[in-house]
Symmetry: C2
Subunit: 425 residues, 2 copies
Amino acid sequence: MQRRKVLGLAGAGAAGVAAVGAGALALNHRDQPDPQLAASETDAEAAGAIPFYGAKQAGIVTPAQDRLHFCAFDVITDDKAALVDMLQDWTAAAARMTQGRDAGTFGAVGGSLEAPPDDTGEALGLPASGLTLTIGFGPTLFRTEQGKDRFGIAAKRPAALADLPKFPRDTLEAAISGGDIGVQACAHDPQVAVHAIRNLARIGMGKVTVRWSQLGFGRTSSTSRTQATPRNLFGFKDGTRNLKAEDAALLDEHLWVQPGDGPDWMTGGSYLVTRKIRMLVETWDRSPLAEQQAIIGRNKGEGAPLTGKLELDEPDFAAQDGEGQPVIAMDSHLRLAHPDQNGGARLLRRGYNFVDGSDGLGRLNAGLFFMAYQRNPHKQFVPVQNSLAKQDALNEYIRHVSSGLFACPPGLPAADDYWGRALFA
Amino acid sequence: MQRRKVLGLAGAGAAGVAAVGAGALALNHRDQPDPQLAASETDAEAAGAIPFYGAKQAGIVTPAQDRLHFCAFDVITDDKAALVDMLQDWTAAAARMTQGRDAGTFGAVGGSLEAPPDDTGEALGLPASGLTLTIGFGPTLFRTEQGKDRFGIAAKRPAALADLPKFPRDTLEAAISGGDIGVQACAHDPQVAVHAIRNLARIGMGKVTVRWSQLGFGRTSSTSRTQATPRNLFGFKDGTRNLKAEDAALLDEHLWVQPGDGPDWMTGGSYLVTRKIRMLVETWDRSPLAEQQAIIGRNKGEGAPLTGKLELDEPDFAAQDGEGQPVIAMDSHLRLAHPDQNGGARLLRRGYNFVDGSDGLGRLNAGLFFMAYQRNPHKQFVPVQNSLAKQDALNEYIRHVSSGLFACPPGLPAADDYWGRALFA
């Protein structure tokens, strides 16, 4: 059932041979076992494919994969039926691709020679690679910036999906912010993540366009206790206090939308905030180690709070040094972002490091593509970010250049369901 | 000796503790064996580190790693001694980082608290990951665009490093073309490749700035017969006829600069041409499979020439179909790029797929970052590209937006040598 199987037959598609009935070929590709590949494919499938269907969307508490391609789409049709058609097609393609299969029934090489392939082909031969595809709906899908309710769903817009406020120091670029629909593709192989987004864009041609997209090359968060804490481009461990898949009660409290929180279609879902945070790494790299550690509130090697020895030690915000100053500075990132300073607000972060070439000023265009899932951004991300934007010592080294907000519905329980049915039906 | 070892001691660097004598700490980090980690580190080193010193630079015939960070630097000093100092520092750092060590002696957390660390830290805990760093010198290092011979090396500029001509259809952007020095970082882990470039930029601060940089997420070439042929973003296998590490005689003929070719300092080196090729994948994806295959000259699944069955079958350019037309079209990419049509010219390609977000017009900004090493670009890349630029059916779907040319000297034979000594001494 995997893409790798297609390859043995692909030679038969050589041009010069008349176009072959697509259905027959497709049947061959998919249903004839290949004894040489069967064993390794079964292994790969067992190891590499993450179930697409389930009560929750995959890609949220799924142990964070190594690579990201995120894409925000603009819906360019006002035709609700056309949009729903596309969401059905997307769902079918996502269900296939996450299992390591071609995006369409015939695949990159199994269809008619006279038609465009229904898969773009660059993932031929690659396993599922832990691909997850997670969808969210932006505020402008419910009502455009011009106030238009294109799809008759404005009344279903959750209060929690109200636009984020403008934060102090925001330097957002509109062209890479917002979006009607967001899709997060995470995988261990970036070619697989890119392939998935590219095929959704292909399927959506004429109904959606790519508003902005972002590759992330390295995860900066762990979402499971089975994972080590990774490092961001400041060289520090990031997300030590992240919500983890194993924290079931905390996830219900902080991550998953609960019955009564808002419209039923979001119950079991979660809200995603994205922030592209440019990091001025050249300036950071000239700062003394002590200053870096004071700004973060943790040491650089172990990632321990400056009042502790180990990464998971609880910070002691009351501790003072010999001169009566707090060991963990009042404007340190650790203190300002800590749940104790924010009414207990916690997030499930799922960020990625990025480098987008250079900035034209002799520097790397590098930073963190921050993503955080939560039950209600206006009670979680917003107060934390207000606090950080006002006081965080780290602000000297960072710029928020893009922002996104998406309502990610619950998972799809069965193979005949589709992304957004509860919203659009 | 690997970065991973640093971690156990890192907790000792907690702020609040007085700054520790850096030398003593460094000694601890590097020289005290950690029994818990020793076995796995030896394995990682054996498996993951590619030797830095040798007759040839690593990263050319090295089996192409999965990920790329390429950086073109502008030299902003006119002081030859300062530039040579930097190249010595770069060489020492490259020798360390390619072996999985910190960029500097003290590392990210081993130095004084009062000084900036001599490593940025985001690769702490990561193995060498097959990192190679390959340096090349651009035409403008020998004489600026204003005609200035800043470093007294204009007479040493090889004829083969003459500027590339303007090709038909070129749509180059100056800001992401050229460069005085190019560094190719390839690794299996992009965080390791990014870390290496970023630390070279850090070390070069005040002497060089980042002119442009490019991440590649997936290799599109094999440089060894041990590797399967990968696929580009048109979904086709790329580089089937690539020069390979095992072709020793062909490498001497087509890849490595031979005695008498030009100035001695380049003997044993190679010339690198970079071309950023935007691919209009959305247009391509609407083309029928037969048209895609006719344009490439190969079938999509197996990658066989349209006159053959298997990828490695030799194309039969004389073969005609029932209507007397050539089976491999006259304007197909395969025909126009083939050595038989270009006086036998061959290249060692080392390209990578890229996606740089979106293009502001609703499309992915995607394509191929083409890199090719060769003995003399004016006898190899230039005639091939002239032929392609004039006639290739693929031109409808691609745009060349950046170009670079770099003279990559031979490898460094001993630990006391440095990048560029034969040029600058």
